[in-house]
């Protein structure tokens, strides 16, 4: 699902950037900007805010580069910063979001009367993807983030554990619970359509 990025090169660029080589850091930004943005967007749900937070993430990373240790994977370290930035933004909101399990205003609404040009399978696909997006937003943050890291970023349990600062056993059980929660939402809301 994710674009393959050579971690060895990442670490070389990061080591150079840490010594003050700004073009090396710019290479890292270009390599990771879409991944970081995608993760933050799915955590936050607002495109404009996610753009700002992605910028903030890379600026924080630039300032914190002297703290990065070459034995840690750069991408994991960057995702720790992106995650903390997103969590801070969610805390700042200080209100509970009520997520509608029907189609939201930012999504393409599926009009049952306007299905003629769409093949049935495609319609079913769109409905299912729309439902998954809404379900993700309705999940508790700790379940949402672990699903995103595994399913969208294709991270190993070891990398997820490092990013979330938990042990691999917790990754295993939390991820399973998150998947069960999504399937429960599917059963509860998907079959109503």
């Amino acid at each position: 699902m994710t674009t393959e990025i050579d971690d060895g090169e990442d670490e070389q660029f990061a080591a150079r950037a840490r010594m003050g080589d700004r073009p090396a850091f710019e290479r890292l930004v270009r390599r990771h900007q879409d991944r970081a943005f995608r993760f933050i967007l799915r955590m936050i749900g607002s495109r404009d805010e996610a753009m700002d937070l992605t910028q903030e993430t890379f600026l924080k990373a630039y300032r914190a580069l002297p703290d990065w240790r070459s034995e840690a994977r750069f991408s994991t370290w960057l995702f720790q910063i992106a995650r903390n930035t997103a969590l801070d933004a969610l805390r700042r909101r200080r209100h509970t979001e009520f997520v509608s399990l029907t189609a939201g205003p930012d999504e393409e609404a599926i009009d049952p009367c306007d299905t003629a040009p769409l093949p049935e399978e495609r319609l079913a696909d769109k409905q299912r993807i729309g439902l998954l997006e809404r379900t993700l937003r309705a999940l508790p943050v700790e379940q949402r983030e672990i699903l995103l890291l595994r399913e969208l970023e294709d991270m190993s349990y070891a990398d997820i554990a490092a990013t979330l600062n938990i042990n691999e056993g917790t990754v295993k059980s939390r991820l399973a619970r998150a998947r069960v929660a999504v399937l429960a939402h599917y059963r509860q809301h998907g079959e109503e359509k």
């Binding site: 879409d34 995608r38 992605t54 299912r128 993807i129 399973a176 998947r179």
Partner: protein, 148 residues
């Protein structure tokens, strides 16, 4: 893992390829005979393919162009230097100790020994009685009987 209570933690890790060889074989064997667990695994696989179909969101512009100025202005912490070793501090500490010893030695020469005695002798010139035989007070010049 019984047929009626699927172990979702194990099935989820099985799906991700995060189980050891032994555990994986056990689940393979169980799935061959348990329709319920096979159905749950299929649901997990469908969920994973749903995630694959989510739109690949992109930032849509070169972030470097946006943050370039802020990177240049961003305060960078100084490069961390390794902590000095104890022998690195040796010349400084030796110098400090030598200066202290020299100071104490010179001080004791100036205020101690033979230099102190003449000063004490000179001080003894000033007696408690004023010079010229002047009275200190009426009590020392007149006896009690003379008063009467």
């Amino acid at each position: 893992m019984t047929a009626h209570e699927p172990d979702m933690i194990a099935l989820s890790a099985y799906l991700d390829g995060e189980l050891g060889v032994t555990e994986r074989r056990q689940i393979d064997a169980h799935l061959a005979t348990c329709a319920i667990c096979t159905a749950h695994l299929a649901a997990l696989q469908t969920l994973a393919s749903d995630f694959d179909r989510l739109p690949q969101e992109k930032l849509g512009f070169d972030l470097v162009g946006v943050i370039e100025g802020r990177l240049a202005a961003a305060p960078r912490p100084p490069q961390t230097k390794p902590a000095p070793r104890w022998w690195g501090l040796l010349p400084t500490s030796l110098g400090a100790a030598a200066a202290l010893t020299l100071g104490i030695g010179m001080g004791s020469i100036l205020i101690g020994g033979s230099a102190a005695m003449p000063r004490m002798a000179a001080m003894s010139v000033f007696d408690t009685l004023p010079p010229g035989g002047l009275c200190l007070g009426p009590e020392s010049c007149y006896s009690k009987g003379a008063r009467k």
